[in-house]
């Protein structure tokens, strides 16, 4: 019987049963240890200034308080900046944003610790904060120097273009709002060592930073991550501080310490998606073919560099999206503001670049009176003369033309375009809009050394398999996918495989689970480990039964030695008896990639992930309210390892992107305090935001031409940007509402208020 439960099988998430029964354990659900204590962090109340005096005595005297620390109590290094310095774990002098950690409290309960931190008396010398992105641009207030990418001569191309126009686009940031807040539990061990259980996408970095702040070496710190209750980039660098605080207290007080953030602390103290203020100068032909673009992309980084250099780079890498731009110049600014340091968030700057060129396309279509889809298709890359990106990587195995052609038909684009027009002609108040937008997203960490992964596979003498690798599970189904990969290699059922928590003492020096790379790199490393064991078994069986190596076959739970059939368990037992090592480490490094940032040339990406979406929206021109009525998506995941998991990523990514572009709005007051610091004021999509008709398909016959794991493609981030179709559809509806008086300058997010403002400013008087 053919066993189909491996590659390409829609297995449920490995923890699905535990999710629905409540048995799945997150950091804060772990059984409490005797003497376990709880930490909470005291934060600044001002955006910019200096600490003059700090009286923590009332904190220390509060009920249940055991210990209080400030910067001078940190035994090792204070700075926990992930790439560049600039993030003090606790500050004792300079304050650069509201919510910056200043001290921490250890108490007998989480509630007591939270109450105690409110009792500190801190005096500040106030300085005027820079809170506005435009102000930071004007003052050249940067966390990192500007960087420019170019190909050809944009100025010349613009000058000779028949049509030329400029525009500005404000793109809002986004709170991750993972349902599980940041949490870490540190447990002191023998010999001054420490174990940290943390909700982190980046256990190795947590390990390194805990070691640094404690003055330990990395081998004295073990970090464990079983699963996260969502992460989305928000636990790539932003989880480490809480591990460090818990670890410092744990060693000082020789007790287990949990540091978890309340929802408000989490929203105030951790970084978000960068908001951007982008401007463009575009030239095109009568037919709408883009001749040149001069971009300035300005990302709001907050007070410190964090990952912003790479994030703004990725915005620059994606402001071409799917389109060939013959002459282009892109300047990327990393602006500093006195706000929390912005960080990775699904798409990592890519979405903010991509949405800008989609606005450009819409403006070209509007200017020339053509359908935006026609302009999109006209400007697509091809595989011959229009295949060079602004960073000089050639676009190959490009599935977008095929995707768009198919989606146009599947989603019935042109008939619906007519239906939308007809609807808008007879409806004065309610208007519909329609848009198809593509996504081309580069896959690989743009920082090349991160493109490596390790794995550890054990086969026990009863044939059961223990699998470990450097990737972390945040809900994306990484564990089930990798167990499917290992199961395929051994031709056993995935049920034979136990997936274990990510641990720095099992697989060292891991990269964060980020950049959509989880399955690509960890899957390959696991495959490499499994293959080593498999080859040893083949060698052993070939010798034992005296058959050629290629006469040993693994198939459907059995191992065939010529005609002889053995179960995998029998083989494992025999191999063990035959003193064969059944444990192996695996390793993978992404091939082919290189990038020279000095010249802004190279091949930063192994390949591109592609997809496209058609969105139809309905807007109310009296209130700005908007509903997404239908979405059709066709997405290329290569050969899917698990189509259910992949479709889950696509749908979830799309709705998360929809939130970023419609209802999720971050707001600060004039003193730099976050106003939207709870789910009461910060609205992520809820169930009624899911379109009534939501058709998602995977592109068929789409094996990745790069030798990725089972020819699959990464799927974590790219689908988020499919939601740009909804944002463009809203503008399409606004154009209908405003009677085409001028091109609507719609910013993101397109909240009801923004939509109504846009309708008014575009010329319709209600």
């Amino acid at each position: 019987m053919e066993d189909t439960s491996r590659i390409g099988s829609a297995l449920p998430h490995d923890s699905a049963r535990k999710h629905v029964t409540g048995e799945a354990t997150y950091v804060e659900d772990m059984p409490k240890l005797v003497g376990q204590r709880y930490a909470c962090v005291g934060r600044s109340s001002i955006a910019s200034g200096k600490i003059i005096s700090m009286d923590l005595q009332p904190v220390l005297e509060a009920q249940g308080v055991i210990d209080v620390i400030s910067a001078s109590d940190i035994p090792g290094g204070i700075d926990i900046g992930p790439v560049f310095p600039g993030d003090p774990l606790l500050t004792d002098s300079l304050v650069e944003y509201v919510g910056q950690p200043i001290f921490a409290v250890l108490a007998t309960s989480h509630e007591r610790a939270r109450k105690a931190v409110t009792l500190a008396n801190i005096e500040y010398q106030l300085q005027t904060p820079v809170l506005d992105l435009q102000q930071a641009i004007d003052q050249k207030f940067f966390v990192r120097p500007p960087h420019t990418m170019q190909r050809g001569e944009a100025d010349t191309a613009l000058a000779k273009s028949k049509h030329r126009f400029q525009g500005k686009l404000r793109v809002g940031g986004q709170e991750h709002f993972y349902l599980e807040g940041q949490a870490s539990t540190a447990i002191p061990e023998e010999d001054g060592c420490i174990t940290v259980h943390t909700s982190s996408q980046n256990p190795t970095e947590a390990q390194k930073l805990v070691a640094e702040v404690l003055g330990l070496s990395m081998n004295q710190v073990k970090v464990v991550t079983r699963r996260m209750g969502g992460a989305f980039g928000g636990k790539e660098t932003q989880g480490s501080a809480w591990s460090c605080i818990a670890a410092i207290f744990a060693l000082r007080n020789q007790c287990a310490v949990t540091c978890r953030l309340s929802r408000q602390d989490d929203m105030v103290m951790t970084g978000k998606r960068h908001s951007f203020l982008n401007r463009y100068d575009v030239g095109c032909t009568d037919q709408g073919e883009i001749l040149g673009i001069d971009y300035r992309l300005a990302g709001q980084c907050g007070y410190s560099p964090d990952l912003s250099d790479a994030i703004v780079d990725r915005a620059m890498f994606h402001c071409d999206n799917a389109y060939f731009i013959p002459d282009i110049r892109i300047e990327g600014l990393r602006c500093k503001t006195n706000t929390v340091s912005n960080t990775a968030f699904r798409g990592f700057g890519g979405p903010q670049g991509m949405i800008t060129v989609e606005a450009v396309i819409d403006q070209i279509a509007y200017t020339l009176g053509k359908d935006p889809l026609e302009i999109r298709k006209r400007n697509l890359y091809n595989l011959s003369d229009r295949n060079l990106t602004p960073y000089h990587q050639e676009v190959d195995h490009y599935s977008l033309p095929r995707i768009i052609d198919q989606l146009e038909v599947d989603a019935d684009y042109w008939n619906r375009r007519e239906a939308v027009k007809a609807f808008n002609e007879i409806n004065p108040v309610i208007k519909k809009g329609l848009a198809l937008t593509p996504v081309k997203f580069g896959i690989s960490f743009t920082v090349s050394h991160l493109n490596q992964a390790g794995a550890l596979v054990h086969v026990y003498s009863d044939g059961s398999i223990h699998l470990n690798h450097g990737g972390t599970e945040m809900g994306q189904g990484l564990m089930v996918k990798i167990s499917q990969i290992v199961a395929e290699e051994f031709q056993v059922s995935p049920e034979n495989i136990i997936i274990s928590a990510t641990q720095t003492d099992k697989v060292p020096n891991t990269s964060p689970t980020a950049a959509s790379s989880g399955t690509d790199i960890n899957g390959m490393a696991a495959l490499n480990a499994a293959r080593k064991i498999k080859n040893r078994i083949i060698q052993f069986l070939s010798e034992k039964y005296d058959v050629p190596l290629d006469h040993v076959k693994f198939k459907n739970g059995e191992v065939f030695v010529e005609e002889r059939s053995l179960t995998f368990a029998e083989v494992a037992h025999q191999a063990w008896m035959g003193r064969v090592s059944l444990s192996a480490t695996g390793f993978y490094k992404t091939p082919k990639i290189h990038y020279d940032r000095e010249t802004a040339k190279g091949r930063p990406f192994l390949y591109f992930a592609n997809g496209a979406a058609v969105s139809e929206v309905i807007i109310d021109t009296l209130t700005g309210e908007c509903r997404l009525s239908r979405v059709d998506i066709l997405h290329d995941v290569g050969n899917s390892i698990n189509p259910a998991i992949d479709i889950g990523q696509i749908e979830g990514g799309f709705i998360q992107g929809l939130g970023w572009l419609t209802c999720e709005e971050l707001q600060w007051d004039t003193s730099g305090r976050l106003l939207t610091d709870s789910p009461a004021t910060y609205k992520i999509p809820a169930i009624s935001d899911t379109p009534a008709e939501f058709n998602v398909s995977l592109l068929k016959n789409a094996a990745n031409s790069e030798p990725t794991v089972f020819r699959s493609k990464a799927v974590g981030e790219p689908p988020l940007m499919l939601a740009i179709s909804a944002w463009c559809a809203i503008r399409d509806a606004i154009i209908a509402a405003s009677g085409s008086k001028s091109f609507p300058i719609l910013h993101a997010p397109a909240t009801p208020e923004e939509v109504l403002r846009c309708i008014h400013e575009t010329g319709m008087q209600q």
């Binding site: 349902l179 700005g624 709870s678 609205k683 999509p685 169930i687 009801p752 109504l756």
Partner: protein, 485 residues
């Protein structure tokens, strides 16, 4: 001592501070960590549990947010958490559907969703008549609008919910109904259980007044959906509470030819039924009022007494010309609802006075009523602007306006009437001309604030436009005025 059932197990909970939430009790004391804390403010639903109460010989199942539910409210009820749904190795149908249809990714919101789905499953199991797929989908949104998921985009959760109610066979809870009812009766009969040192549960107004005299500092609590935030967000202590949820007089509903009188302790979920019977068009406000979990807890009296400028019921009640019956000691008085709100969070209630009931005049044949809620999100959001309008025309054939009440939430420090707007309407007809003048008058009536929900200018513009929407809906039903239409 608080007595309740934890699933089928009878719990005698020794006294503890009244402000202990069910969530903290489950997680910290019982180590039942399946129920998650996502926000501790009743906004995400990760902590959803189900509370069952006896109703005749049946059990009524309500999903509530355990993060903002205090343990005192469990008195005499059955608490069901995610750990109790499976029967041995056999998952409950709602759990099985979530596994089969890939309804979980990170899994953190899943227990909350599963519990909301369970409450819907029970509601459908107990309801008469069947719903078609479209109606079931609407019902799913109604029940799950208070549960946030950041991973899935909800589609598989909707599918799982629909699949789980596709063919309902009795589950372990329906099989245990008789014994559960028996155990709950036993608890109700145990007199000692009624009063703990921290949570008081008066059965009638006389007992209530006694407690008020005895514990003048203890707040009167009903749904606690707002008060609980003082504890979980502002870190205040509220060691004593007097619960209103068992005071008989506050739960009564009375109807005469002219009016309907609703006890202050009636939940919003029950109010929906009462109001939509007379004013079907008010369904849209009840469907979007907080979340299902909140509507199960929050009461009409609480929504009024809270005096929030953005409560969604006051504008409706003002437009309907409701009056309130208040009681202080043994003395009752009646006041109109629009004189109840004095200033931001300040009401006409004297110390220790409470709302007994709300009297709402029933509709007149030539009365036009609409209530509109505008917010960033459809589900579980607070209004940027909420407008309720009631126009009485001189007769059904005419457009001449005899009387108008136009009330707003979100436009000022209290829910209040647009008096200049009303006076324009009162002298005019239901025509474009009058409505345009009335809309302009709103600018004189209010100078709304700008906050995280909306700017002042948006609020004003929308308030004016809602009058135009009203006119369109009254004069030409063929014109689409809603994005949901």
């Amino acid at each position: 001592m608080i007595q309740f059932l934890l699933n089928q197990e009878k719990i005698d909970l020794p006294d503890r501070p009244a402000d202990t939430t069910v969530l903290r009790y489950l997680r910290d004391e019982l180590q039942l960590c399946g129920t998650k804390e996502g926000c501790a403010s009743g906004d995400c639903g990760a902590c959803t549990v189900v509370v069952a109460e006896k109703q005749g010989q049946a059990l009524r199942y309500r999903a509530v947010n355990s993060c903002i539910t205090f343990i005192g409210s469990l008195q005499g009820k059955q608490l069901i958490t995610v750990e109790h749904l499976a029967s041995g190795n056999e998952l409950h149908p709602v759990q099985q559907a979530m596994v089969d249809l890939h309804g979980s990714q990170c899994g953190f919101c899943t227990p909350g969703f599963v519990m909301s789905m369970f409450a819907m499953y029970k509601a459908i199991e107990q309801s008469l008549g069947s719903l078609n797929q479209a109606e079931l989908r609407i019902k799913t949104q109604y029940h799950l609008g208070g549960n946030l998921c950041r991973c899935t985009g909800y589609r598989p959760i909707i599918d799982a919910t629909l699949a789980s109610v596709d063919s309902i066979a009795g589950d372990q809870f329906s099989r245990a109904t008789q014994s559960t009812c028996h155990d709950l009766e036993f608890i109700a009969d145990a007199v000692s259980a009624q009063n703990t040192a921290s949570s008081m549960h008066p059965k009638n107004i006389i007992e209530l007044n006694n407690y008020i005299r005895q514990f003048p500092e203890a707040p009167l609590v009903a749904g606690c959906t707002d008060l609980a935030l003082e504890v979980t967000q502002k870190l205040q202590s509220i060691p004593l509470m007097i619960y209103l949820d068992q005071v008989t007089e506050l739960l009564e509903v009375d109807e005469s030819k002219e009016s309907m009188t609703i006890g202050a302790g009636v939940t919003l979920e029950q109010c929906k039924t009462l109001f939509t019977e007379h004013w079907p068009q008010t369904a849209e406000i009840f469907d979007r009022f907080g979340s299902y979990q909140i509507r199960n807890q929050a009461t009409i009296g609480g929504n009024i007494a809270n005096a929030s400028p953005i409560g969604d019921l006051p504008p409706l009640l003002i437009a309907l010309g409701a009056t309130l019956c208040l009681q202080l000691g043994d003395t009752q008085r009646e006041i109109t609802i629009d004189s109840f709100f004095i200033d931001y969070k300040k009401t006409a209630l004297e110390d220790h006075e409470f709302i007994v009931s709300i009297k709402v005049p029933l509709p007149l044949p030539n009365q036009l009523l609409r209530i509109y809620k505008i917010s960033k999100r459809v589900d579980d959001d607070i209004s940027a602007v909420c407008m309720a309008i009631s126009l009485t025309l001189s007769d059904t054939q005419d457009t001449g306006i005899l009387d108008s009440k136009v009330a707003f939430g979100g436009m000022s420090a209290i829910p209040c009437r647009a008096s200049r707007c009303e006076s324009v309407l009162n002298h005019g007809d239901l025509t474009e001309y009058t409505i345009a003048l009335a809309a302009d008058a709103i600018e004189q009536d209010f100078s709304p604030i700008s906050d995280a929900r909306a700017s002042s200018s948006y609020r004003t513009r929308v308030a004016k436009n809602l009058l135009k929407r009203f006119l369109l809906e009254m004069s030409d039903p063929s014109i689409a005025t809603r994005v949901d239409s």
